[in-house]
């Protein structure tokens, strides 16, 4: 999986490309913006073509870790297949999900400014 981090003000956009499963989830956990618990991130899922329960677990772990430090994990641009996984597992209730990365960044910036 290719992970690209792009700083956008106080937010970091983490763009994922490939498969997020048991073999690639540790890679995501090691990426600097994800690993930094106090960094709010927008995870761009546009090019994620497969997500399994371990991948879902790594996203939920990230969300929990960051919320403990008053940071946030936002998701953007999910394709139909990935959003179906979130829907059937009810994981969509945990995340703020956007169809546009820039809207997610704006939302995260507002959240940060309220802190």
């Amino acid at each position: 999986m290719i992970i690209t981090e792009t700083p956008e003000g106080c937010i970091t956009i983490v763009a994922l490309n490939g498969t997020l499963d048991a073999s690639t989830a540790p890679e995501l956990q090691k990426s600097p913006a994800i690993n930094n618990a106090s960094q709010t991130v927008v995870i761009d899922m546009e090019h994620v073509d497969f997500l399994d329960s371990s991948g879902l677990g790594s996203l939920i772990g990230t969300l929990r870790k960051k919320r403990n430090m008053s940071a946030e994990t936002l998701l953007s641009c999910m394709n139909e297949r990935i959003s179906q996984v979130f829907e059937i597992t009810n994981a969509h209730r945990l995340f703020h999900i956007f169809d546009d990365t820039s809207a997610a960044v704006d939302y995260a910036t507002q959240l940060n400014s309220r802190k």
């Binding site: 371990s54 677990g57 929990r64 959003s83 009810n90 209730r93 703020h96 809207a103």
Partner: protein
């Protein structure tokens, strides 16, 4: 213009409880699913794209509505969070909204519109803001008006909250009595106020009194009197000499001989009084209400594979069990008991044996590491009461005694799918994993996941 339909699960929770076999967004009103009325109105208002937002499950709605091509609109789906504000909804769907004017229909409400009116032109002249509202719902316009007008016109529509079964019954009856001119309703008929679907068999001696709406695959047997003011869904049998007056008979229902249904709603084998919400179970010899439920339960193939795997596990655990059980029992470290759990989502319960290994002794740790405490449950897999891996059995009493949701795919099991994963830290995480595998796992995958759960338990106890 584009339309966002935002409906939160808490707004239609009562439908799940009253009609568990019907998806609330597909609740039929005069034999037309609720969502279709919203889509029809969005089209009348000039929308070319519609997006349905909900925090509840949408799979059944997607299967029914697909991409909206049947109505000539682009229909898409997205999720929302229960406490999202209007601004949040617009932000979360920014790519969909673009620079267009947006109509946001929010809440589980019925739109009382008239298909003869030119809503597209009226909406284009309306300024941004709330157009219509009712308790629990509203129609809001966002973005600049498309046609400038000094005096925005009155909007000839109203919103009616669908907040309980009484309002559902009232709206259904009003739609039947006055709706054929106002809405596009399903069914065929030479006369107004009488719409009949496909494959409807009406006995020569049966009497039909207008207004009525009858769905598809319906049999009305001799001497039956249908109407006035009667809505009959699809796959319904009205048996001999029965009468239905001012009633709603939903899909997959059998009304037995010599019954009089007046001012009631019948759904499956339940007869409900819309005023008090009281219900009674009816006889259903044709099992019309059971056909769907039977299809959802575990397949014979899965049960066979699980039973074979359980038999192998029992064989493997038998010798350690015979050696360790007497020792632990003598030490008082093996505590056995029973617990009552939900057998499925219908509310049926069963009693399961429980075993707990207490204290911290080498024999106890070994027994726990090789999952000997699950041996009594494995026997229940052989007789088909449990699956080898699936959902954690939900106790039928106490704090967690809530009945599992019909849509959760609850399958009580010896090992839970969550035990096969490393990451779940609380019950909400475990529920996510269980839901994931309930949909994605095959019987053979289940064997692999059972092995993984066994190994996880082994490592967990070794690490401890």
């Amino acid at each position: 213009m584009k339309t966002l339909l935002a409906i939160r699960e808490r707004e239609y929770e009562w439908v799940n409880q009253t009609f568990p076999s019907i998806h609330p967004l597909l609740l039929p009103i005069c034999n037309k699913p609720f969502t279709e009325f919203l889509i029809d109105f969005a089209i009348l208002a000039g929308s070319t794209e519609v997006r349905l937002l909900s925090d509840g499950p949408l799979a059944e709605v997607k299967e029914y509505c697909e991409n909206g091509s049947r109505w000539g609109v682009q229909l898409s789906y997205a999720t929302l969070q229960a406490d999202d504000s209007l601004k949040d909804l617009l932000d979360k769907n920014r790519r969909f909204c673009g620079e267009d004017r947006i109509m946001i229909i929010s809440g589980f409400c019925f739109i009382n519109y008239d298909k003869q009116r030119g809503y597209a032109s009226i909406m284009s002249q309306m300024p941004a803001g709330t157009c219509v509202s009712c308790p629990g719902g509203s129609i809001i316009l966002a973005g600049n008006q498309e046609t400038l007008s000094r005096n925005p016109p009155e909007i000839p529509l109203s919103l009616l909250p669908l907040d309980e079964i009484g309002s559902y019954f009232r709206i259904s009856m009003e739609t039947l009595e006055n709706g054929s001119a106002r809405y596009v309703l399903p069914g065929y008929g030479n006369e107004p106020e009488c719409a009949i679907g496909r494959n409807v068999i009406i006995s020569k001696t049966a009497e039909i009194i207008k207004p009525v709406s009858i769905g598809n695959n319906v049999q009305i047997l001799s001497g039956a009197i249908i109407g006035p003011a009667c809505i009959i869904g699809s796959n319904v049998i009205i048996d001999k000499e029965s009468s239905v007056k001012k009633g709603v008979i939903l899909d997959n229902t059998y009304i037995g001989e010599h019954l009089e249904v007046k001012g009631r709603i019948a759904s499956g084998n339940m007869l409900i009084d819309p005023r008090s919400s009281a219900s009674i179970a009816m006889e259903d010899p044709h099992l019309l209400s059971g056909i769907k439920a039977a299809g959802k339960s575990g397949t014979a193939g899965r049960k066979t594979v699980h039973a074979i795997a359980a038999a192998i596990l029992i064989t493997m655990q038998l010798i350690p069990f015979l050696l360790l059980f007497p020792l632990l029992k003598l030490q008082g470290r093996w505590c056995s008991g029973t617990t009552t759990c939900h057998a499925d989502s219908s509310g049926k319960t069963f009693t399961l044996p429980t075993a707990e290994i207490t204290g911290n002794s080498p024999a106890g740790s070994l027994a726990a590491a090789i999952s000997l405490d699950r041996l009594p449950l494995l026997l229940r897999v052989i007789i088909g009461q449990l699956t080898i891996i699936g959902s954690s059995p939900i106790p039928a009493s106490g704090e967690t005694g809530d009945k599992p949701s019909a849509k959760s795919g609850y399958r009580p099991a010896v090992f839970s799918y969550a035990e096969a994963e490393d990451w779940p830290v609380n019950s909400s995480d475990a529920a996510i994993v269980e839901r994931y595998y309930t949909i994605h796992s095959t019987p053979l995958n289940d064997i692999g996941l059972t092995m993984k759960a066994l190994l996880n338990k082994l490592y967990e106890h070794n690490a401890a």
